[in-house]
Amino acid sequence: MDPDAVAKAFVEHYYSTFDANRANLANLYQESSMLTFEGQKIQGSPNIVAKLTSLPFQQCQHSITTVDCQPSGPAGGMLVFVSGNLQLAGEQHALKFSQMFHLMPTPQGSFYVLNDIFRLNYA
């Protein structure tokens, strides 16, 4: 399958799930997964979901500006580099962010997130 298409499909799925119900992100992560969120490091799906569901806002909407992807090596992994805006309910200005994902294939023919790094982009 075309890597660009896979990356786009993942990004759409990830952020629509995030914006609708963050708890549903759990099956995108595994025990070995790592998230660094604004410098805070978390490992493992339950801990990652706990972090994301405890972020200090109820509703949000991601709008994506750029998606870049590259294969990461012989194991079939894929790197996805995203930039966009994050609109929080009730806030006048959207936050700008960048995020990178390292996706690894699962035996079922899908992908899970092995590495996830998120940073807000301050002006």
Binding site: S72, G73, L79, H102, L114, N115, I117, R119
Partner: protein, 155 residues
């Protein structure tokens, strides 16, 4: 001298068993510290070369390396070298704001995620950017950049 210090750091981290992080018994915090230290050393070295000796940057890439620069994809040392040499500025200065690193797999690779500013001479305002690197151990006992993605962050 700067380059020598970087290579010594790389050797030290590899000697300390960075490539075996998947084995049991490895303290997670210790490994995280090693990875963060290596990420910082790489970032320091990479942008030093970029700002002071850009023609030496291709030495950090291999034939399988990929660079996506503002959406433009190139592969291999020659194409990457050409892309970096043809950027429309002779001088620049990178100022780094954040560096985040994680081990990328069970084979010793490292992901490094950087944000910062790029100053160009004669330009009043700095450009803000984000960049990610995937570093992979080389057979020579060092690391090379397997993946490199660069994006400007427009205000």
């Amino acid at each position: 001298m700067h380059y020598v210090l970087y290579r010594e750091l790389i050797s030290l981290y590899i000697f300390m068993g960075l490539g075996e992080w998947g084995k049991r018994g490895r303290g997670r915090e210790e490994m995280e510290e090693q990875v963060e230290g290596l990420g910082r050393a790489f970032v320091d070295h990479y942008y030093y070369l970029f700002d002071n000796d850009r023609s030496s940057l291709p030495s950090l890439y291999h034939s399988t390396s990929m660079l996506t620069f503002e959406g433009h994809k190139v592969q291999g040392v020659d194409e990457i070298s050409q892309k970096l040499n043809l950027l429309p500025f002779d001088q620049c200065q990178h100022v780094i704001s954040t560096i985040d690193s994680q081990p990328s797999s069970f084979t010793g690779g490292i992901m490094v995620f950087v944000s910062g500013s790029l100053k160009l001479p004669g330009e009043e305002h700095q450009l803000r950017f984000s960049q990610m690197f995937h570093l992979v151990p080389s057979s020579e006992g060092s690391f090379f950049v397997q993946n490199d993605i660069f994006r400007l962050n427009y205000g």
